[in-house]
Amino acid sequence: MKKIINEPDNYLKEMLSGIYIAHEDMVTCTDGDLQCLVSKHKKEGKVGIATGGGSGHLPLFLGYVGEGMLDGCCVGDVFQSPSADQMLAVTKEIDSGAGVLYIYGNYNGDIFNFDMAAEMADMEEDIRVETVLGADDVASAGPSAPGEKSTRRGVAGIFFVFKCAGAAADKMMDLDNVKRIADKANANVRTMGVALTPCVVPRVGKAGFSIGEDEMEIGMGIHGETGIRRGKIEPADQIVDEMLGQIVADLPYESGDEVAVLVNGLGATTLDEQYIVTRRIDKVLSEKGISVHRYYVGEYATALEMAGFSISLLKLDDELKEMLDSDAKTPFFRQ
């Protein structure tokens, strides 16, 4: 394990301390628990938006707490859900009477804990909580039947859900409408990733799997979950074509559609490469008659120091476009 760390047991606390030091104008913790992060800018009467999940994905999730996006976030140890109690503490802190929306990725542990938190918020605190589960990873499972719960994992595309719901709440919409917009963004976002190297969870100390020196794995999840295909590494354009082909076919995104694109680095992949990828995406989409309203390129949801990237597409209508384009100011994202 080649990392700039101290005792792995102190990793989470030390990392969080650094965040509060560097961004003390924007975020603070609640309940005396570093893992419970809330925005310093509380807007009375606004719907609160909370997220949470395991650490190891910065700037996801902590980095999006601030004006125009999220109000609170609860993180667990690396790749490990925080507890229901912690999520409840955040929920209580960010509620100002208009209720709270949970937006988080579709993972077992998170669901167990946040469902419990939502129940306690409702029963013990009289706070109405609604939930939207990010499940954008096309590679993780087939599409769900109508009315069925999705079994897909939530990955980088959740950024778009945060952004749109955050804007809606910031415009003082009520909980039903904020949820409606989050649901709409969620229903229109699709992602696929590719990984070139594994990553090491500090408390484990070694990689849980390996990828050959000349190999890549298309569809790998942001905790190293198995993808859909492992093979020899290919030229960037070919990789993009395969990933984008599956993404576009899934919703499907069609000629005449307008989209936002997120090119997301997983950790060790350079911005240079991400722009090389962006160039190809632009070409492919324009050939398909899909126009791009906005590009986001950079690290938005990482998997520790994994090399690789993901592509997310969000299909836009006028409402989503307005939400996406509105201002936001968080430790990691300014627009």
Partner: protein
């Protein structure tokens, strides 16, 4: 004896904590094969936090289970926090009013534990999870009790079933949790949660037998 005193049985949890601490590396090693290698770390963290809390208390069995369950639920997170948290919480509640714990009370503790877990998790027997240890263990206990076996024998039946259930996970393909992403590749190794559940169930069982003898 057909029962043991709740007041004297707090040591069951003491022994459980020691067992998990001893098995920490083994549990992580098993999790490392088809999961992310942290199961022992997660379990050890929760049980050790509970040990610390208990060190400032005097406690009977239901209080110890309750402390353990709350610690796992409130402080650990992950999937294991809620699942095992629920298990111990239910076991605590099912015996909190009992001065003596007999086969009847113990049976209820097991039944409620399984129900509690199934309330939050959709996992079924055969999905390759802790459920593969827990459910057969509970059923074996209840069946033995209904056949009129003695408490000790019921516990022995439970322990045997837990072991068989645990071992059965080796040939299963994971349908739940991280390992389910591996599909066929998850076959051939034991499940980490089923393993910890084996140590927990039989740990309780053996300690209870000790108290009954």
């Amino acid at each position: 004896m057909t029962s043991f005193k709740n007041a004297e049985a707090g040591l069951i949890v003491d022994q459980l904590i020691k067992t998990i601490q001893e098995q920490r590396d083994y549990l992580s090693e098993i999790d490392g094969k088809i999961g992310d290698g942290d199961h022992g770390i997660n379990m050890n963290k929760g049980f050790t936090m509970c040990e610390e809390k208990l060190s400032h208390m005097t406690y009977n069995l239901s209080e110890a289970f309750s402390t353990l369950g709350e610690t796992l639920l409130d402080d650990i997170g992950g999937s294991m926090g809620p699942l095992y948290g629920m298990l111990f919480d239910e076991m605590a509640m099912a015996c909190e009013d009992a001065e003596d714990i007999d086969a009847e009370v113990f049976g209820e503790m097991l039944v409620n534990a399984v129900e509690g877990i199934q309330e939050i998790s959709p996992a079924k027997v055969g999905d390759k999870s802790m459920i593969d240890t827990l459910v057969p263990a509970k059923e074996a206990f209840i069946a033995a009790k209904e056949e009129g076996k003695e408490f000790v024998q019921c516990l022995e039946a439970m322990n045997d079933a837990a072991e068989r259930g645990w071992q059965s996970t080796k040939d299963l393909v994971a349908k739940i949790g991280r390992a389910s992403r591996l599909g066929e590749r998850s076959r051939g190794v034991l499940d980490a949660g089923a393993t910890s559940c084996y140590f927990i169930v039989t740990g309780i069982g053996k300690a209870a037998i000790g108290l009954l003898k």
